[in-house]
């Protein structure tokens, strides 16, 4: 055979080479579609820490269900034992490239452009957070544009089409999680995770990162998008809140953030402040609300989509609740009436020497680790951490019991040279 292949995927061209993985455009002949195949580098495939995380990322990402997050179609292993992920292909480049191109022609963002991006990414992050994950590497390079070719009729109305930034036949898609950056961070190869300029302060150092880190990055991205645009000043205030250094001062979740952004860009007439259940529904519908420029029209449309979105709203509200599992920094204890969690492991570690912590989980069905790198590891019985600098560090274990009550415990350890 002439072309290289991985499993049933014919590799067509290399889209990118990172320090940990190579990304190929590939052809799935069975489904007759083009996909992206991301292969873990051969030299890292024997490193179990990296290998496990690569596979875990595929499995985690698979749990994220959103038209605005890249989809995992398959996971496999090459003959040489390299794991690979098969992902949906976004064929219209990155948001960064699109904005660059438009700006060179004198474009600045309109309120509709900003709303289209804010809603799509809010929907994407809600789904990521609902799966108890933190993206950690939201940046214009990681937001992709893909053509939808009018095929997906059940999808949201093509409302984010504004004729400007996101075209009528396009959709915004959040690219895969920040795995490689995470890896680089915890293996000490680079100083921090995330992309410069879009990296929340808590990600600059080792520390516990939760979903509010994504809110910071999301705000930074929208601020970048809105640069030099003639937009209400209120927007800067809203973004400023979630750009606070202290995560406690940011919006509590994506939903609250989006509500404020929408209010800033399309103020409601005084006296018609929306009742909670109803309008938060329209907002949580994310991309379904088209953010038309004229408030009266907009409100009518919103009323109409409300009923249709009832079910979706419920699901998203639920998602946000689960997302809170990782959002709180204080509150729940390590036991409820039916469950108990604890972490066992060393209280001392040496730089560069892996240490393992184990979850003692009793009565909880699902749990998630927060590592000193800020990385989240769902449902693992143990995690292995290699510190890159001497400091006080901690691992955190959060869980839900059968009744959905939250548990949390942490284990501190001192890293020495």
């Amino acid at each position: 055979m002439s072309e290289p292949a991985l499993g049933r995927y014919r590799l067509l061209s290399v889209l990118g080479v990172g320090s940990f993985a190579t990304v190929h455009r590939a052809r799935d002949d069975r489904l007759e579609s083009d996909v992206v195949v991301k292969v873990l580098a051969e030299n890292h495939s024997l490193n179990l820490e990296i290998r496990e995380r690569f596979i875990a990322e595929g499995r985690s990402l698979r749990r994220v269900v959103s038209p605005h997050v890249v989809t995992v179609h398959d996971i496999g292993e090459s003959e040489r034992g390299q794991p690979y992920l098969v992902l949906s292909l976004a064929d219209r480049g990155t948001l960064a490239a699109r904005v660059r191109e438009l700006r060179s022609a004198g474009w600045t963002a309109t309120a509709d452009d900003v709303l289209a991006v804010a809603r799509a990414l809010a929907a994407a992050l809600s789904a990521v957070h609902a799966a108890q994950l933190v993206h950690r590497d939201l940046s214009p390079e990681n937001v992709l544009l893909t053509s939808v070719a009018g095929l997906e009729r059940g999808d949201a109305p093509r409302a984010e089409a504004t004729g400007g930034l996101v075209r009528a036949d396009e959709r915004l898609v959040l690219a895969d999680l920040g795995l490689c950056k995470d890896l680089a961070l915890s293996s000490g190869l680079t100083v921090a995770g995330g992309t410069t300029g879009f990296r929340p302060p808590e990600q600059r150092d080792a520390g516990v990162v939760d979903m509010r880190a994504d809110l910071w990055a999301l705000s930074a991205l929208v601020r970048w998008l809105a640069a030099d645009a003639a937009l209400p000043e209120e927007l800067a205030v809203v973004l400023g809140r979630s750009l606070a250094d202290d995560p406690e001062r940011r919006h509590p979740d994506v939903r609250a953030w989006l509500t404020d952004v929408e209010r800033a860009l399309a103020p409601q007439p005084v006296g018609s402040d929306p009742g909670d259940a109803a309008t938060s529904g329209g907002r949580d519908g994310g991309t379904s609300d088209d953010g038309a420029a004229h408030p009266p029209v907009r409100r009518l449309r919103r009323a109409r989509v409300l009923t249709a979105l009832g079910a979706l709203v419920l699901v998203l509200a639920l998602g946000v609740t689960v997302g809170l599992l990782v959002a709180r920094s204080s509150g729940p204890g390590d036991a409820t009436a039916t469950a108990r969690i604890a972490i066992s492991g060393p209280v001392q570690a040496q730089v560069g020497v892996p240490v393992t912590f184990e979850a003692d989980v009793d009565g909880a069905t699902t749990w998630v680790w927060t590592l000193p790198s800020g990385e989240f590891v769902p449902d693992a019985e143990s995690v292995t951490v290699t510190a890159s600098a001497p400091e006080a560090a901690r691992v955190v274990l959060s869980a839900l019991d059968d009744a959905g009550r939250e548990l949390r415990t942490e284990h501190g350890f001192r890293v020495t040279q």
Binding site: S45, L46, L48, R51, E52, I55, A56, I75, G76, E77, E79, R80, G81, P83, S344, T356, E358, D360, A380, E381, S382
Partner: protein, 205 residues
């Protein structure tokens, strides 16, 4: 207070080689402590303790879950799980009494995964030393007298399927049919039986 007593009772039953009592008593000991007792007694020479430990590692799916974190192919997972059992049983003498059993097993499982990945890469003809612990025990059972003695000492439940597999060379399905057991049961019994042979002959992973 009774928890500690149960553990002490379990230890006594293991030392007396009383499998029936040990199986009954272990139910009263909480898992962490139970595994610790089994591993410690195994390290001081109780083959019964090793048998029970491997049985629990198998039944609880602990090793399988660990292996599945880094391997995708189910037959590879099967192989490495077996390799891990054999290594655990064979190197039980090196279990440090203070270590946590799951941590110790985790490290062994990881080494077996890496071994598997290395073997997968070498396209060269496999030599004896290139085989995984489980395959090596399997071929030893077929070839060596001392090991054959160890097999003879296996509880009947394990002895039959191991002999049919490693000496007669039958496949799992045929063995299952002949013994009137399910394929899953037979696979599991062969895995545990090989691990016990490893414990008896002190074959480290």
């Amino acid at each position: 207070m009774t928890e500690h007593d149960h553990a002490a009772d379990l230890r006594r039953a293991l030392r007396a080689g009383d499998g029936l009592a040990a199986r009954h008593l272990r139910e009263g000991v909480d898992p962490d402590e139970r595994w610790a007792v089994l591993a410690q007694e195994g390290a001081s020479g109780s083959v019964l303790a090793v048998e029970l430990l491997v049985e629990e590692l198998d039944r609880s799916g602990t090793v399988r879950r660990l292996v599945r974190r880094s391997l995708l192919d189910e037959s590879a997972v099967d192989d490495v799980v077996q390799d891990t059992f054999v290594s655990v049983a064979g190197s039980i003498g090196q279990f440090g009494g203070d270590a946590k059993v799951t941590t110790w097993v985790h490290r062994i499982a990881q080494r077996r995964v890496v071994d598997h990945l290395r073997r997968q890469r070498t396209t060269a003809e496999l030599t004896d030393s290139d085989l995984g612990p489980s395959a090596r025990i399997s071929s030893m059972i077929a070839a060596r007298v001392t090991v054959r003695d160890a097999v003879e000492r296996l509880p009947e439940l394990y002895r039959e399927p191991v002999l049919l597999r490693d000496l007669a060379g039958l496949d799992y399905a045929t063995i299952a049919e002949r013994l009137g057991r399910s394929v899953g049961t037979v696979k599991s019994q062969i895995a545990r039986g090989r691990a016990m042979v490893a414990a008896l002959v002190g074959e480290p992973g």
